[in-house]
Symmetry: C4
Subunit: 262 residues, 4 copies
Amino acid sequence: MNNYRKKCAEISEHPLFMNTIIGLIIINAILVGLETYSYFENNFYDWIYLADQLLLWVFTIELLIRLLGSKSIGSFFKEPWNIFDFVIVASGHLLVGAHYVTVLRVLRVLRVLRAVSVIPSLRRMVNALLLTIPSMGTIMLLLGIFFYIYAVIGTMMFQSIAPEYFGTLHDSLLSLFQVITLESWASGVMRPILTEDPTSWWYFVTFILIGSFVIVNLFVGVVVNNVEEASREEKPTPTDIKLEEVQNELREIKQLLKKKED
Amino acid sequence: MNNYRKKCAEISEHPLFMNTIIGLIIINAILVGLETYSYFENNFYDWIYLADQLLLWVFTIELLIRLLGSKSIGSFFKEPWNIFDFVIVASGHLLVGAHYVTVLRVLRVLRVLRAVSVIPSLRRMVNALLLTIPSMGTIMLLLGIFFYIYAVIGTMMFQSIAPEYFGTLHDSLLSLFQVITLESWASGVMRPILTEDPTSWWYFVTFILIGSFVIVNLFVGVVVNNVEEASREEKPTPTDIKLEEVQNELREIKQLLKKKED
Amino acid sequence: MNNYRKKCAEISEHPLFMNTIIGLIIINAILVGLETYSYFENNFYDWIYLADQLLLWVFTIELLIRLLGSKSIGSFFKEPWNIFDFVIVASGHLLVGAHYVTVLRVLRVLRVLRAVSVIPSLRRMVNALLLTIPSMGTIMLLLGIFFYIYAVIGTMMFQSIAPEYFGTLHDSLLSLFQVITLESWASGVMRPILTEDPTSWWYFVTFILIGSFVIVNLFVGVVVNNVEEASREEKPTPTDIKLEEVQNELREIKQLLKKKED
Amino acid sequence: MNNYRKKCAEISEHPLFMNTIIGLIIINAILVGLETYSYFENNFYDWIYLADQLLLWVFTIELLIRLLGSKSIGSFFKEPWNIFDFVIVASGHLLVGAHYVTVLRVLRVLRVLRAVSVIPSLRRMVNALLLTIPSMGTIMLLLGIFFYIYAVIGTMMFQSIAPEYFGTLHDSLLSLFQVITLESWASGVMRPILTEDPTSWWYFVTFILIGSFVIVNLFVGVVVNNVEEASREEKPTPTDIKLEEVQNELREIKQLLKKKED
């Protein structure tokens, strides 16, 4: 039994195994892309379907090998990327008979994301990106409160003037997201409102000024965090190397002094 | 009397007290959001009004407890966030009979901002953000002069060509704000003017170049400031730890030398 | 004579003198702003004209006092801001009889810029901003070549398809500036061209990718430069303070050793 | 023969030689610019053609001199910029008889790029810029996967609703590039789709949030990389200078101790 586990672990760590899987993911990506062209969907539907089923089974076998090769089922599912892989593959089997064609197709597209779980450098980068999210928690909460207050005020004031932008609270939230990206905030959103309510400019100008100020600070925080972290992980600087020399010399002096004492 | 003060302070510092207030602020936020939907406003107006009055009184009691629990009234109002809380709650009472429905509703929305004054991490973040403003004073003054000069020149030159953008000085200031956010600056503002005054491109191009140059430098200044501050507050670096070791060793050597002297 | 110079220098350095000038510049700014409103221009033209002439003469006297108070005429004109002040004031006198009303008005607007030459903190900031320009020289040249090549290619290819954007070389340069600010680059410029020349997307996509890559690097260079400079000018770090303590201790040890030698 | 090589190397390194070439590149740039104006093309075509041929031959001779002046043909073509020069000049000769007028004209425009290969400071800057590309490899791959997945999903969902934006997979990729530059993403792309599919906002909002998050991190990575590199190359800090003093003093103390030992 243990022998069997070892073999599976060996296979799953073999570079050829990984490269094959990467290759299959690329083929999966190409298939999923071709499917969007009606020409391929109409003329090669059977082939695409067949290849798709084949890929699903290969990915299932791959997952099984990696599962059997892991120390225990528990340790395997501790790694979030393995859970992701499992969910993607399992739902592919579970929904096969279903009529939710769109869901199935989206699942097949998401299999392309498996590239992240398979290629180590990509996985490390995504993990690093995800780790920066918690440190943005407080500022995100602040942004949320800020958006909510402006959305409620905007709905109250412009509900009847511009129903397509501020008709309901969720419309307002979407419009404010558009405004903060600075897309047509003046030509599309503000100027038509301004003709009816000439004092409404303060609403948009303060929203953009405060919003971009907070977002810039969010961004600055991320930069500063990264610079600090990088400098903490840094290899010994020339200063540190010199300091070590100083320490060595001090040790020598102490020995000289002690020898004399004897 | 003093005993009474102590109890109030105890209550106001109890986590349950704070969590209750946060909960009530969230309820207040939801109510204020629901009110924007005409369905709720028409069918549940009485309930919303009742809940609103209740919340106002609970917030009043909360404020009183915190006021009674503070060392003195003076020390309580030294903290700007307490003044903010007081103004929000007091104006809720003062304006109750008034017909300014919109003002009252905006006040209720602003109560959501009390989340900042109640949640410590949010308050610290907002305080930190506000502290960065004074250091931007000079560059803001420079931006102001720059905007004003361009607004006056723009009004002089394009008043008759594009009255909707440069009709008056305040129109021009708003249009220049739109231009600096790069929103429709060419397709909406410059190109129509260009057909009448083919040399006007220099006005917009120089405005964008100089303006974004100054703003980028404002931004760079904030980044540099933050990096510096962060590095100043930093915990002892490995270099500092090694230096302390060096100092300890030197002290030992000195003692060795002094011992011999005796 | 020398006594006279001393008195002038004294006056020109007196805080009251500077504050008066700042006040007059603000009045000048307000006048120049009021003038843009036709109501004021029509009803108070004589008063505005009078105030303007008065201000011009006060500024002339101010300049004379500062000129007389300086060590020599040469040293006075070494400072570029003094030359700026001189040109602004002198041209106000020279062009008084002229019919170039617009030029005269622009000159009056530019007098607002004198705030920079009078307020020391503003002057220092503008000097600092101007100093960062030379370090951007090479990258600006690169951007220039890049823009020129794309403008020539764009004119060659889209001259007949989109004459309003790429009709002539200078039209193309302006359009490319619009594209690099990302303003309506797709909806306004590319998509109409795309309907006629379906392969033209590579022109715009590569232009935006390369252009923003270079500009981001320009920006990064400025940030890095500033961080470095700031860290060079920094006050002694805790590390430096500790190092000084180490040096002091070493000196003591040396003295102890030398004393014993004697 | 060797003598001949030396002379060629001498010529090719002479400042006058380089300045002449730079001058000719500028003339080439001006010619290529003038050619876009139909007035010049119609009236001075023969002159422009002649000058162009002359320039081509001068550049050929320049290349030959630099080739002959190099240590060996192999070492000459090791430098990528020399290959670039060679291709530009050689293709000018090869395609002379061809009817591909546009290709020929683009080639002539690209000769302006030779400024980069001739001016050392520009060449260094471009080399530095190109060197930063490999470090962005992983994040570019991530962005690519992210774009591809959204493009496939977008095509699947909006193919029939907005064929001009999401008709085919490559249309979708172009539209997503437009969306990530925030150009008309709401007014042009999302809002028309929203009227048919009111839940499609999540597609655009998540795309912009995730996309800009990844791009900001790409940017942050470049900044951090540059700051680190700059700090590594830095000249000795004041701390290092003090440390050296400490080391010198320690050496003196050791000598003092050793002398006493004798």
